[in-house]
Structure formats: structure tokens, C-alpha cells
Amino acid sequence: MLKINCPICGNRDETEFSCGGEAHIARPIADNKLTDTAFSEYLFMRDNPKGVFLERWCHTSGCRRWFNLARDTISHEIIEIYPMGQTPKTAKGKKAYQANWRRKSKAEAASKPAKRTVK
């Protein structure tokens, strides 16, 4: 039984939460030129580490807010809980974030709008 320290409500049992899977999956912008292969990396392919995993969770029985969580998938130790929209701050969390193949994926690159140039 995980005990998760919801940033809003405090320490609660895992039964109050829903896990939203891998965190930090950025959606390619609508105007993207990705191939099906590259797009499938966004849509279906997932990080699935045996070790530190960055996930997003929702406190469904409580405040219903989402947050991010770095957890070891072997020991279930929760390493860090950090706000939605931010990246991890601990060394282990940062390492997991950088090491994820998704950081180098075309789909993630396509989630940032191209810089506009003024003609």
C-alpha cells in the first residue's frame, strides 16, 4: 500500500488516487510534420523502467488535483513529489527525466512551437 503525500491534502492511502502513467509526455503541436513512426512514440510508446519512474497521479477521492511523482518501481519508494507542469528537483528524479528516451524523440521536439520569424 503506497502512502502518497498529496501536495494539497497530505498523506493518504493509494486507494484515494488514480495513476496517470508516465509523466512529461508532451503532445506534438497540431501543425506537426511527424511520420506515423514518430507520432506513435507519443501516442503509444512508453517509458517502463525497472527503477526510478516519473509518473503523474490524481487525487481522485480528494482534491482531484494532479501532481507528478518520482517512484522506484522495484522498492516503490517515493523519491519526490512535484507540481504538475514542473520537472523533478532531486538528483534521482532529474537523472530519470534526462535519461528518458522521450527527451530525444521527434515527437517531443514537435511539441514546442517553432520560433516565429518576422519577415
Partner: protein, 432 residues
């Protein structure tokens, strides 16, 4: 697939002196059972093989057996990081059926079921395959309609499936509670008579013994640490026992598939989740059918030892811990007791978990990859045990010929690019 291929494979074993029979039993009884031959060697890795299977579970051992027996590839090895059959093969609830929805699924699961029906003979090893029937019960009008559709789809593929009324269910399963007053009353069900259970460990042992007999090296306590490539071709595997040269690598490691895939920079759509099971204290025979329910979310059968074997859905977050968390069995047992009141008097003896590799469409991946000679057989999620012989058989074919046959073809990794998913969440019967 010709039966002659399988017959040829099983005859290969019968020529060896290790064959089990009433005569060998009598002979060994006379010598106080001290002269039984070891069922498989504990091999050390050779420097090179024609093919290597990573993963010594049921699927991996089956793949190796069919590679050797049908495709004549005997200079091969199975590499297992722990002890053979110690992963999901030894942890499942042993249910076997082929009553899935889509044509593609009928293809692979029925192929497997037909192999189950001859497996003990093929392997000269009693896998205790018991075709006691698998009954899926339904609890609402909506489910009845879905059931009807699924039964028709199953029958259109020439697979057996019969719809039962609550009264007929009660006749077959006297201990079930079909009262209309329970939380989720039984409104009907469908039965696959040819489905049932098997002794999961025996499947691993049977395949291991038969494969070893044909010359396959089974190397346990050997962990793969890297996949070596030269350009776009696999050249071998790095292991805790050294480098092994090989041009063909089949990865069959279930929950650890992403760990291996990462070694070759291959992307998979898999999430590794705990799937739990529990057994009760053994009691006299009381249930001779497998019962599954999607709505109340439990499946139950009685083992030959007399234990009630129970399972439910996966835990809802990734884990490699092989335990799972308590609320899942708690909910499942509450539902099971509603349907089978006699369970309330039983003590639950053991609980454990496996690591299941769940796919977005609850269907497996049997596929080549972008690296020549590297093949993946994974994504079976909660439904791997039932497909063991079929999975091994078509995967061996894929490895031997470097192209998927018609059964394996729909399960290519590419379907996640084309969008041709095979959604079997309903028939998987195990919530993801």
C-alpha cells in the same frame, strides 16, 4: 501449420531413452526411484549459437523446443536470469481458453488451444491439461448483449462457445449464488467447454525437458546485460556469464521486455504491472469449472490439490516487485464471496504477484524489429499462460524464417504506427 511438423517434433523425443512410460515407472520403482535421469542439463554457455532465446519461461522454452523440433535448429540456447519458469509462468492462475473476440485473436489463441490438446503427448510429460470448461458470467443487460456479440464472433471462427441461462449455470456450478438479490446478480454466461486449466510449472518443465533432449542448452542464473549490434544486425548478447555470439535473438521476457528493449534502443508500448493471485487452503472437490466475471472482477478455479485459485485485475501502477498491493485482493475476495458464499469460511493461504507486460490494446507483440535478427515476443499482459504453446510455435517460425506467419503477422509492433490495434480488453477479462 501441418500436424506432421508437430508429430515429427514429438517423435524426436520418443527416440530418446529418457521417455516416461508405464515401463520406465515400473523399472524405476524397482530401483527405489534412485535412477531417474535429470530432466534437463544445467548447461554452461557455449561461445556461439545459431539462435538464443532470452527468457526461460513457458513461452521462451516453447519457442526453443519448436525451433529445435520443427525447424531443426538445435544449436540454440535459452538464457534465463533466474530459475526456469520462475517468472509469470509459475505465478499465473492457469486458465486456458480461446474465446476472444477478433479474428486475429481467434487465430493465435485457438492455435494454442489445439496445441494444448496434444501437448502432454508431444512432450511426453503430463502437463495436467484439464478441459473442465471456462464459464464467463454476465451481470447486466449491457453485458448480455456484449456476450451475445462475442459468442457469435467466436462461433463464426469455428470455436466452441455456448450461452447458458442462470439456471443452467446453477446446474453446472451448484455452489454459485444466482439469487437476484446480490449486488451483481448473475444474468447469464457463456461457456467454452474445451477451455480449462493446466499445471503451469509442468508446462515449463515439459518444454525444458523436451528441448534439452534435442540438444538445446538451458542456461539459468545468467542475466543479459547488453545486446550487441553491428550496424543494423544483432551480433550477440552480453551476459553475466560472458559474451555469446549469435545472429538471432528472441526476447521472451514478459514484464522485463522494456529492460531488454532499452538495451537495443527499441521502443515498446508496454507498461509492467503487478498481477496478483491467491490460493485458499485445500478442500475437497467443490468446483469443477473455471468461472470468470468481468463485472465483479474475479476468476476462480479449484486446483488438483484442492485449493481455490483466485485472481483479479492488475494493480494500477507500474511495478517490478512481484507483490502487488492489498486493496486489489481485498476487493476481489469481497466480490467472490458474494458469488460463492462458501468462500467466506476459507482461509487464504498464499498471495503473490507477477510482472505483466500490458499493451494498449491488450493484445501481444510477436514481431521483428528494426534490428535484423532481433525479435520480440511480449505484451501478453494478463493473458500469456493460455497461449504458451501457440506463442512458442509461431515465434519459433518467425525466428527460423525471419518472417511472421499469418497467425503472428497482425501482432507486429508496427500496428502501433498503422493504428491497426486488436482491442481485446473485454475478452482479456482482466482490468488493465
Amino acid at each position: 501449420m501441418a500436424n506432421t511438423d508437430l508429430d515429427r517434433g514429438s517423435r524426436a523425443l520418443t527416440q530418446k531413452s529418457k521417455r516416461y512410460s508405464i515401463f520406465s515407472l515400473a523399472r524405476n520403482a524397482a530401483s527405489y526411484h534412485q535412477n531417474w535421469q535429470q530432466a534437463w542439463r544445467h548447461a554452461d554457455p557455449k561461445p556461439a549459437y545459431d539462435a538464443v532465446i532470452i527468457g526461460g519461461g513457458g513461452h521462451g522454452l516453447a519457442s526453443a523446443y519448436y525451433l529445435a523440433s520443427i525447424h531443426g535448429m538445435t544449436n540454440i540456447a535459452v538464457i534465463e536470469k533466474g530459475w526456469l519458469g520462475g517468472g509469470n509462468t509459475g505465478r499465473n492462475t492457469t486458465i486456458i481458453r480461446s474465446n476472444y473476440m477478433w479474428d486475429e485473436s481467434a487465430g493465435i489463441y485457438e492455435h494454442a488451444l489445439k496445441l494444448w490438446e496434444r501437448l502432454s503427448q508431444d512432450l511426453n510429460f503430463n502437463v495436467m491439461f484439464s478441459q473442465r470448461g471456462v464459464l464467463t458470467i454476465t451481470h447486466s443487460e449491457h453485458e448480455l448483449k456484449g456476450m451475445s456479440r462475442r459468442v457469435h464472433a467466436i462461433r463464426l471462427n469455428g470455436i466452441d462457445s455456448d450461452i447458458l441461462t442462470p439456471a443452467e449455470i446453477k446446474k453446472r456450478v451448484p455452489t454459485i449464488n444466482i439469487s437476484p438479490d446480490i449486488r451483481y446478480p448473475v444474468m447469464g454466461g457463456f461457456l467454452q467447454k474445451r477451455g480449462g486449466t493446466a499445471r503451469h510449472d509442468a508446462v515449463a518443465w515439459g518444454y525444458a525437458r523436451a528441448a534439452d533432449d534435442l540438444g538445446v542448452d538451458i542456461i539459468q542464473n545468467c542475466e543479459v546485460t547488453g545486446l550487441r549490434r553491428n550496424g543494423g544486425q544483432i551480433t550477440g548478447i552480453e551476459t553475466s556469464k560472458g559474451f555469446i555470439k549469435t545472429p538471432k535473438v528472441g526476447c521472451v521476457v514478459a514484464g522485463h521486455s522494456s529492460v531488454l528493449a532499452d538495451m537495443a534502443n527499441i521502443r515498446l508500448p508496454i507498461a509492467s504491472r503487478p498481477l496478483q493471485a491467491l490460493v485458499s487452503e485445500p478442500i475437497k472437490p467443490i468446483l469443477d469449472t473455471v468461472i470468470m466475471s468481468n463485472a465483479v472482477h474475479m476468476y476462480i478455479s479449484q486446483s488438483d490439490k484442492g485449493e481455490m485459485v483466485l485472481g483479479a485485475g492488475v494493480d494500477k501502477y507500474n511495478s517490478y516487485a512481484q507483490t502487488g498491493s492489498w486493496p486489489v485482493p481485498e476487493h476481489m475476495v469481497a466480490a467472490a464471496v458474494d458469488l460463492f458464499p462458501f468462500l467466506s469460511r476459507l482461509r487464504m493461504l498464499r498471495q503473490w504477484g507477477g510482472i505483466v507486460d500490458t499493451c494498449p490494446d491488450a493484445s501481444p507483440i510477436i514481431s521483428k524489429t528494426d534490428i535484423k535478427g532481433l525479435y520480440f515476443n511480449c505484451g501478453w499482459g494478463t493473458g500469456g499462460f493460455k497461449s504458451t504453446p501457440g506463442s512458442g510455435h509461431v515465434f519459433a517460425d518467425l525466428i527460423a524464417h525471419d518472417r511472421p506467419n499469418s497467425i503472428a503477422l497482425p501482432y507486429s509492433l508496427k500496428r502501433f504506427e498503422t493504428g491497426y490495434l486488436i482491442d481485446e480488453h473485454g475478452a482479456a477479462g482482466v482490468a488493465h
